[in-house]
């Protein structure tokens, strides 16, 4: 087999990554994003959820230059290239923080708590950060 030939994975599982923390105070958000990008290379069914303070990870207009941290809010824009297309945000979490989908760096699917409950229960693996 040549290196440029692709092969299909034998088993495809549904992996959901749950983000509940804001972006820069701890390393959780960045680590989760890196894990998602690596997992995406294995052709699994990957989704990301942002709820509670996790919705702040997607806030538009982040400028980290002065705190000397990587501005990984721009990396969420590459998720589509990595075929990670299911990005869910809990409506109640957005509203509780005075945000709307327009405040976010990428287009997302805004789900109510009730709808998110259903999506979560359908996963094979749920990974929290």
């Amino acid at each position: 087999m040549e290196p440029w030939e692709e092969h299909e994975p034998e088993v495809v599982k549904r992996f959901m990554y749950v983000n509940r923390r804001p972006p820069h105070g701890t390393i959780y958000a960045l680590e989760c994003l890196e894990v998602v990008l690596i997992a995406a290379a294995f052709d699994q069914d990957v989704s990301m959820v942002f709820l509670d303070d996790g919705v702040f990870q997607l806030k538009r207009g982040q400028d980290t230059a002065a705190i000397g941290m990587k501005n990984f809010s721009r990396t969420y824009g590459a998720l589509d290239d990595y075929d990670v297309e299911k990005i869910y945000v809990e409506k109640e979490s957005l509203e509780a923080r005075g945000l709307t989908a327009d405040d976010l760096v990428i287009p997302v699917e805004v789900l109510t708590t009730a709808a998110l409950r259903e999506v979560m229960a359908q996963q094979d693996v749920v990974i929290s950060s």
Partner: protein, 103 residues
């Protein structure tokens, strides 16, 4: 139907992990409180009502060794709360199709 085991390891008066877990857990799911999460099993706290409200539709457990370690062994726990040891923890994990941690 899928059965989910939710793990909560943060005190409900310090973090919102238990709140969020209860918001997103469905009827028929189970919740196991471990580590600092066991404080959530106490009665007469400001947060106890949140569990009591769901105890008819969600099965709640607490990890005994973590209760004892915190000197809570003699304290009354929310009625209907199951107590498991490490073996029971493993059984719970195997009985559910999915385990979700609320860190």
């Amino acid at each position: 139907m899928s059965k989910v085991l939710h793990l909560v390891n943060k005190s409900p008066s310090e973090r919102n992990a238990l709140d969020s877990c209860l918001r997103l857990a469905q009827a028929g799911h189970s919740v196991l409180l471990i580590e600092d999460g066991v404080y959530g099993a106490l009665v007469n706290t400001t947060t106890a009502g949140n569990i009591a409200q769901r105890i008819k539709e969600i099965k709640f457990y607490v990890l005994g060794p973590d209760v004892d370690a915190r000197g809570l062994g003699e304290m009354p726990l929310i009625e209907g709360m199951g107590i498991v040891d490490y073996e029971g923890f493993v059984d719970l994990v195997t009985e559910h199709h999915l385990t979700q941690s609320w860190l």
